[in-house]
C-alpha cells in the first residue's frame, strides 16, 4: 500500500534527527553558530510541515492521509507506518510551532549548548512520530523516544531540585509506558490475527471485559501524561525545575500527546468501553478543574501555579471527550491546540521574568510593570487567554465543550447539569489565580527584593516569540473556523463512532450507567441552527 508520492511524514520525522547529527562537530563561534543552526533546522522543518499539509492534505476527508507503510523489523512485526488525519494534523503543526519557538527561546543557554540543541531536535522528531505513528509498537517507541530528551533536559539544565524532578518525571512516565506496552501487546495478540496496525486493532472484536481492562490500563498510562488527578504530581515538579524552553514544549505539546492518544486509542479502538468509562472521564475532568484551580491559587511559585493551571485546563479536554457529541469532540481538540499555544506563551514569559529576577517565588516579586511594561502587557494577554477571555482561543474551546456536553443526549439532565455547573466553577476560579498572579508580580510597588534592581524589558526577540503565540491564539478566538475546519470532518466521524455504541450499551440491563435522554423538542419544529435562523 505504498503511495507514489514523496514520503512526507518520514521526511518530517527524520529531518530534525538528521539535522541534529552534525551539531557535535560544528564549531560554535561566539556561542552563536549552533543556536542559529538549530533554529534554521526548526524553521525548515516547520515550513516543510506547512508545505506538505498545504499541498497534500484534504480537509474534507476524515480518513488517513499521507499514508506510508514500510516493513521495518519484520521479525517482531514492527512496521514503519505513518499517516495523519484531522486529529493529528493540527497537533503536528502545534508541535512544529511550539518547538521551533522553544529553540528560539533557548538563546540564553550557555551551558553545554551542543547537547541541549541535539536533545531539542530529537524531541522535535519524537513528537511528530507520536502524532503520526499508525503502528502500536512504533507509537510506543516514539513515546519512549520523547521521554529521554525531556529527562536529560530537566536533569541537566533544570533548577535546584532538578534531579528529583527529572527522576520523578521519568519514573512516572516509564510506569505509564508499561501500561501502554502491555495494552498494545495484549490487543495485538488478541484473537486470530496478530497485528500492531492501529486501524486493524480498532476493527478487532474484543470482548467487553477485555475492552474495559484495556481501556483502564490505557487510561492510567495517558492519565499520567495528561495528567489526570491523582496522577498529576510529577507535573508541577517538572515544570518548576525545567528551563523555560523545555516547559514550553512540555506544557505545549507533551500533555497533548496524552489527549491525542486518549482519542486515538481509547475512543477509536475501544468504543464499547468508552461508553462505560465516559462518565468517569467527565467526573475526573471536573475534579481536575476544581482541584487544580484551587491548588494553583495556593501556589507561591510562578511556574508551579501555571503547571496546576495546565492540569485544570486539561480537565476540559476530558469533559469534551466524554460528551459523545460533535461539539464536545471538536472542543476537546480545540482546547488542546489552544492550551498548547497559551501554556507555551505563559511558560515562556515566566522564563523571561526568571532570567531577570532569578526567582520564581511570587512573594519576592512585585511592581515589575513599571520597568517591564512590554512583558507586563504580554503576560496580561497570555493570562487573559488562559482565563478564557472571548476573542481568544481558550474561550472558544471551553464554550464548545460546554455546549457539547450540555447538548449531549448520552447523559441524564441531572448528571449533565452537575458536571456543567461544577466545570463552570472553574470559570470563576481561573481569573482568581491568574489575576492574583498578575497583581502580585506586576502591580503595586516594587518588592523589597527588587527595590533598586534594574530590570530590562522584553527584548525584540522575546516579544516576537510571545507574539508568534498570541497571534494564532487571537486568530482562532476571533474566527474559530480557522482551526475547526482543519479537523471538523474527523471529529464528527469520531463522535459518531463513539455514539454508535451508545444504544447497545444502554440495552445492557445489568449496567445502568446512563439514562439516555434527549432535550425536549417542540413537536413539529425542527431545531433550526442559527445560520438559517439568521438569514
Amino acid at each position: 500500500m505504498m503511495s507514489t508520492q514523496f514520503p512526507w511524514l518520514t521526511a518530517l520525522i527524520l529531518f530534525p534527527l538528521v539535522a541534529s547529527l552534525p551539531i557535535p562537530l560544528l564549531p560554535n563561534k561566539y556561542g552563536k553558530t549552533i543556536r542559529w543552526y538549530s533554529l534554521s533546522a526548526g524553521l525548515v522543518e516547520f515550513s516543510l510541515m506547512i508545505y506538505a499539509f498545504w499541498k497534500h492534505f484534504d480537509l474534507q476527508n476524515s480518513s488517513y492521509q499521507l499514508v506510508e507503510d514500510y516493513n521495518w523489523i519484520p521479525q517482531i512485526g514492527l512496521h514503519w507506518s505513518l499517516a495523519v488525519d484531522g486529529l493529528s494534523m493540527p497537533l503536528v503543526l502545534l508541535s512544529g510551532l511550539v518547538t521551533t519557538l522553544a529553540i528560539l527561546a533557548s538563546w540564553q543557554i550557555k551551558d553545554k549548548p551542543r547537547l541541549f540543541y541535539v536533545l531539542m531536535l530529537v524531541m522535535y522528531s519524537a513528537q511528530i512520530g507520536v502524532f503520526t505513528a499508525q503502528d502500536a509498537l512504533l507509537f510506543f517507541f516514539m513515546w519512549e523516544l520523547e521521554l529521554v530528551p525531556v529527562y536529560l533536559l530537566i536533569a541537566n539544565w533544570g533548577g535546584q531540585r532538578r534531579m528529583y524532578a527529572a527522576t520523578k518525571f521519568i519514573l512516572y512516565t516509564a510506569a505509564g509506558s508499561v501500561f501502554i506496552l502491555v495494552a498494545a501487546l495484549a490487543m495485538a495478540f488478541y484473537g486470530d490475527n496478530v497485528t500492531f496496525n492501529l486501524t486493524e486493532l480498532g476493527l478487532k472484536d474484543y470482548s467487553l471485559t477485555f475492552e474495559l481492562l484495556m481501556y483502564g490500563a490505557l487510561l492510567v498510562a495517558f492519565g499520567m501524561k495528561l495528567p489526570i488527578f491523582p496522577l498529576h504530581t510529577w507535573l508541577p515538579d517538572a515544570h518548576s525545575e525545567a528551563p523555560a524552553p523545555v516547559s514550553m514544549v512540555l506544557a505545549g505539546v507533551l500533555l497533548k500527546m496524552a489527549g491525542y492518544a486518549l482519542i486515538r486509542f481509547n475512543i477509536e479502538m475501544l468504543p464499547n468501553a468508552h461508553a462505560y468509562f465516559a462518565p468517569v472521564l467527565a467526573v475526573l475532568g471536573v475534579v481536575n478543574i476544581i482541584y487544580a484551580s484551587l491548588t494553583a491559587f495556593a501556589q507561591n511559585n510562578l511556574k508551579r501555579r501555571m503547571a496546576y493551571s495546565s492540569i485544570a485546563h486539561m480537565g476540559f479536554v476530558l469533559i469534551g471527550i466524554a460528551a459523545f457529541t460533535d461539539l464536545g469532540m471538536s472542543g476537546a481538540l480545540l482546547q488542546m491546540v489552544s492550551h498548547g499555544l497559551i501554556a507555551a506563551a505563559l511558560f515562556f514569559l515566566s522564563g523571561v521574568t526568571y532570567e531577570r529576577t532569578h526567582t520564581l517565588m511570587m512573594d519576592k516579586l512585585g511592581g515589575m510593570a513599571k520597568q517591564m511594561p512590554t512583558t507586563f502587557a504580554l503576560f496580561t494577554a497570555g493570562s487573559m487567554a488562559s482565563l478564557a477571555l472571548p476573542g481568544m482561543s481558550g474561550f472558544v474551546g471551553e464554550l464548545t465543550i460546554f455546549l457539547g456536553f450540555s447538548s449531549s443526549d448520552a447523559y441524564s439532565p441531572a448528571f449533565k447539569a452537575a458536571i456543567v455547573l461544577l466545570a463552570a466553577v472553574g470559570v470563576i476560579l481561573s481569573p482568581i489565580y491568574l489575576l492574583s498572579m498578575l497583581r502580585t508580580v506586576f502591580y503595586g510597588t516594587e518588592s523589597k527584593e527588587l527595590a533598586g534592581v534594574t530590570l530590562l524589558d522584553a527584548k525584540p526577540r522575546e516579544a516576537f516569540i510571545a507574539l508568534c503565540l498570541l497571534v494564532p491564539i487571537i486568530g482562532i478566538g476571533v474566527y474559530p473556523k480557522l482551526a475547526t475546519q482543519t479537523y471538523d470532518a474527523k471529529t464528527v466521524a469520531v463522535a459518531s463512532q463513539a455514539r454508535q455504541v451508545l444504544p447497545m450499551v444502554a440495552q445492557q440491563p445489568w449496567l445502568d450507567l446512563q439514562v439516555p435522554f434527549s432535550a425536549p423538542m417542540i413537536l413539529g419544529t425542527e431545531t433550526k441552527d442559527l445560520a438559517t435562523v439568521g438569514k
Binding site: 491548588t295 512590554t374 516579544a463 425536549p520 442559527l530
Partner: protein, 688 residues
C-alpha cells in the same frame, strides 16, 4: 440607505483598528509610540467621531421607519452545529449606538485635558478605543453568545482601565475585584445561556422566548426550571450593572482615572446589564418569578446605593453609589415591565451621570493643583468647598446634573424617573415606596455633594484636615493588613514616591478652572442632560413610540391622565424638594449640624459609612475562605497525593536495592513483568 446598513460593522471595527495600531506601536516600541501623543489622540477621537456620525445616520434612518436589518456570517461549526455572528440594527441598537458613541466621543475629548501630564496618555487612548469597540459590538449583537463575548470583553477593558495606574495598590486590588465579581455574574449568564440552549436549541432572543413558552405550555419543561434559567441569566446583569449582592466592585472601580469612571462605570458598560434585560425581555416577560426577582433586586439596590451615598466623603465614591442606585431604578423598571421607562432612564442617566463624573474629574484636576496627585486628598469633599468661585463652568454644569438626577422638572431625570415610579406604582406599591424614598435620599445626597464641593469656604489649604485624612487612610490600611503587618511610618516614607510630581513642592493655593478640552464636553453634555427628557414626556411620548417592548402595541391617542401625572410627578418632585431643603439647611446654611445627627443615629450612621458591612462580610467569607480552602487543598496535594507517590518511590528504591542481588539484568526483568502481564490479561479475557 442600504449601503449604510451594509457598513454598520465599521462602527465597532473602526475603534478596534485604532486600538490595535496604538497597541502594536506600544508593544513594539513604546518610547517611539509615546512621542506621538497628539496624533494618536486625534486619530482615535476622529475614528470614534466617524462611528458617531454613522450611528446618528442609523438612528435617523430607524426613526424614518427603516425595517430591522440583520446580517451574519457563520462563525463556528462542528458537525451539524452552526453558530453565527453578525449584527442587527433595530430601534434599540440605534439608540444604544448613539448613546455610546456620543458619550465616548466627549469623554475622549475630555481625556486629552485630564490625562495631559500622564505618561500613559497613549496607552489610555488605546484602552478607551478598545473599550468603545467592545461596547459597540455588544449593542449590535444579534444573539446571546455574541452578547456574552462582548460582555466579557468590556469587562476586560474595565479591568485594564481600573488598573491603569498599576503602581497603586488600591487600583491593583480594585481591578481584580471587578473582574472576579463580574466573572461570578458571567458564570450565571453562561449557565443560563447553556440551559436555554439545551431547552430551546437557539441563542436568538425571540426564538428562545417563543419556544420556552411553548415548552412550558405543553408541559415538556417545568416552570421552575425555566425560572431558574432566567434568574441565572439575570446574574450577568446583576454583576455588570452593580446590583445587590454583586455590587461591591463598582465603588472600588473608582480607582481608575475619572474619564473611564464616566464612560464605563456610569454611562455605558454598567448600563449593559439593563440592555441585556431589554434584549432578553421576550424571555423574561413570560416568567413572573424572574420578573419579580429583577424588580426586587433593582429596588433593593436603588435603596442600598442611596443609603450608602449619604455618608461618602470621596466625591467619586459618592457618585459611584449614586450610579448603583440609579441602575437599581432601571432594573426595577424593567422588572415591573416598564421596558420603555427603564431604557429611557438609561439614556437620560447616561448623559447626566457622565457629566457629573466628568465634573468631578474637573474638580479633582483643579484640586490636584493645590494638594498634589494624591487621590486621598484630591477626591475628598472635606477638603473642597467654595469651588464655584474658581471653577464656574464646572460648578454650573454640576448643578445642572444634580438637579437632573434629583428629578426636578423639566430636566432629563425627572421624566424618566417619574415614568419608572409611575409604572412601579401600578405594578407593586411596595416597590414604589422604596423607589419614592430613594428619590428623596438621592436629592439630599446629591445636594450635599454639590454644596460641600462648590459652596462655602475653600478648605483645600487646611493642613489639619489633610493630616486627619492621611491618618484615616493609614488606619484603614492598618486594618486591612492586620495590626503589626506594616509599620505605618513605612507608608508615609513611601508616599512621596507614589506622587507623580513629588518634586513639585510649590502647589498653588487656589484651584483653577480646567482647560477647554475638559470644559467643552461638560457644556456639551449639559444640553442633553437638560433637554433629552423632553422626548419622553407623558404629553407626547416620542421615545415610547420609538422604543417599546417587542410585541407591545402602542396606543396612539392615549389621553394624558392629568390627575395621575400631577399626583405621581408632584409627589416625587415633592420628596425631592424635601431632600434638597434638608441639604440646604445642613450644608449651605449650616442650621443643622450633620455630626449631631450622625451621633444621634449612630448605628445607622455606621451602617451607611461601612457600606452595610457587605465588603467586610465578603472579605471574611469569600476572599479569606477561598484562600483557606486553596491552602488546604494544596496541603492535601503535597502531603497525601504526592506523599503516596514519594512513599511508593521510596519503597521501590529500597526493594530495588534488595532485588539487585537477585536479578542479573534489569531489561530482562522488565521484559518478564511485561510478558507476565500480557499473559495474564489474555488468559483473563479468554476465560470470560
Amino acid at each position: 440607505m442600504e449601503s449604510l446598513y451594509a457598513y454598520t460593522w465599521l462602527i465597532p471595527v473602526l475603534p478596534l483598528v485604532g486600538a490595535m495600531i496604538l497597541g502594536l506601536g506600544l508593544i513594539s516600541s513604546s518610547s517611539f509610540a509615546k512621542q506621538f501623543r497628539k496624533p494618536s489622540s486625534v486619530f482615535i477621537v476622529s475614528l470614534i467621531g466617524t462611528a458617531m456620525v454613522l450611528s446618528f445616520a442609523l438612528l435617523w434612518s430607524q426613526i424614518q421607519g427603516h425595517p430591522t436589518y440583520e446580517r451574519s456570517i457563520e462563525w463556528a461549526s462542528a458537525g451539524d452545529f452552526h453558530l453565527s455572528m453578525g449584527y442587527v440594527v433595530d430601534h434599540l441598537t440605534a439608540l444604544m449606538l448613539v448613546i455610546v458613541t456620543t458619550v465616548a466621543f466627549l469623554v475622549m475629548i475630555y481625556t486629552d485635558g485630564y490625562m495631559a501630564h500622564d505618561p500613559g496618555y497613549v496607552r489610555f487612548y488605546a484602552y478607551l478605543s478598545l473599550f468603545s469597540s467592545s461596547m459597540l459590538g455588544l449593542v449590535i449583537s444579534p444573539n446571546l453568545v455574541q452578547i456574552y463575548i462582548f460582555w466579557e470583553l468590556v469587562g476586560m477593558c474595565s479591568y485594564l482601565l481600573i488598573g491603569f495606574w498599576y503602581d497603586r495598590k488600591a487600583a491593583a486590588d480594585a481591578c481584580q475585584k471587578a473582574f472576579v465579581t463580574n466573572r461570578v455574574g458571567d458564570f450565571g449568564l453562561l449557565l443560563g445561556m447553556l440551559g436555554l440552549y439545551w431547552a430551546t436549541g437557539s441563542f436568538e432572543f425571540e426564538v428562545i422566548g417563543d419556544r420556552l413558552q411553548e415548552l412550558v405550555q405543553s408541559g415538556a419543561l417545568s416552570g421552575a426550571i425555566v425560572a431558574l434559567f432566567a434568574v441565572l441569566v439575570f446574574l450577568g446583569p446583576v454583576a455588570k450593572s452593580a446590583q445587590f449582592p454583586l455590587h461591591v466592585w463598582l465603588p472600588d472601580a473608582m480607582e481608575g482615572p475619572t474619564p473611564i469612571s464616566a464612560l464605563i462605570h456610569a454611562a455605558t458598560m454598567v448600563a449593559a446589564g439593563v440592555f441585556l434585560i431589554a434584549r432578553m425581555f421576550p424571555v423574561f416577560e413570560n416568567i413572573p418569578v424572574a420578573m419579580d426577582v429583577i424588580a426586587y433586586t433593582g429596588a433593593v439596590t436603588a435603596f442600598l446605593g442611596a443609603s450608602i451615598a449619604i455618608t461618602q466623603n470621596d466625591i467619586k465614591k459618592g457618585l459611584a453609589y449614586s450610579t448603583m442606585s440609579q441602575l437599581g431604578y432601571m432594573v426595577m423598571g424593567m422588572g415591573v415591565g416598564a421596558y420603555t421607562a427603564g431604557l429611557f432612564h438609561l439614556m437620560t442617566h447616561a448623559y447626566f451621570k457622565a457629566m457629573l463624573f466628568l465634573g468631578s474629574g474637573s474638580v479633582i484636576h483643579g484640586m490636584e493643583g493645590v494638594v498634589g496627585h494624591d487621590p486621598v486628598l484630591a477626591q475628598d469633599m472635606r477638603l473642597m468647598g467654595g469651588l464655584r468661585k474658581y471653577m464656574p463652568i464646572t460648578a454650573t454644569t454640576f448643578l445642572i446634573g444634580t438637579l437632573a438626577i434629583s428629578g426636578i422638572p423639566p430636566l432629563a431625570g425627572f421624566w424618566s424617573k417619574d415614568e419608572i415610579l409611575g409604572a412601579t406604582f401600578k405594578a407593586n406599591p411596595a416597590l414604589w415606596v422604596i423607589g419614592f424614598l430613594t428619590a428623596g435620599i438621592t436629592a439630599f445626597y446629591m445636594f450635599r455633594m454639590y454644596f460641600s464641593t462648590f459652596e462655602g469656604e475653600f478648605r483645600g489649604t487646611n493642613a489639619e484636615i489633610k493630616r486627619k485624612l492621611k491618618n484615616e487612610q493609614l488606619q484603614k490600611l492598618g486594618l486591612a493588613f492586620g495590626p503589626g503587618a506594616m509599620n505605618p511610618l513605612e507608608l508615609t516614607a513611601e508616599h512621596p514616591a507614589q506622587d507623580h510630581d513629588a518634586h513639585d513642592e510649590h502647589h498653588a493655593s487656589e484651584p483653577h478652572e480646567s482647560p477647554l478640552t475638559m470644559t467643552l464636553p461638560l457644556v456639551l453634555l449639559a444640553i442633553p442632560s437638560m433637554l433629552v427628557g423632553l422626548v419622553g414626556t407623558p404629553f407626547k411620548n416620542y421615545f415610547e413610540e420609538f422604543i417599546h417592548a417587542p410585541g407591545e402595541v402602542i396606543h396612539e391617542a392615549e389621553v394624558v391622565d392629568w390627575g395621575e401625572f400631577l399626583t405621581m410627578g408632584g409627589s416625587s418632585v415633592g420628596i425631592g424638594l424635601i431632600g434638597i431643603t434638608l441639604a440646604v439647611m445642613m450644608y449651605l446654611q449650616k442650621k443643622i449640624d450633620p455630626a449631631a445627627i450622625a451621633d444621634k443615629i449612630q448605628p445607622f450612621y455606621q451602617l451607611s459609612l461601612n457600606k452595610w458591612y457587605i465588603d467586610d462580610i465578603y472579605n471574611a467569607v469569600f476572599v479569606q475562605g477561598s484562600r483557606r480552602l486553596a491552602r488546604q487543598v494544596l496541603e492535601v496535594d503535597v502531603r497525601i497525593v504526592d506523599g503516596i507517590v514519594n512513599l511508593t518511590g521510596f519503597v521501590t528504591l529500597v526493594t530495588g536495592e534488595a532485588l539487585k542481588y537477585l536479578e542479573n539484568g534489569r531489561v530482562q526483568f522488565y521484559a518478564l513483568i511485561v510478558f507476565g502481564a500480557v499473559l495474564g490479561l489474555v488468559l483473563v479475557s479468554g476465560i470470560t
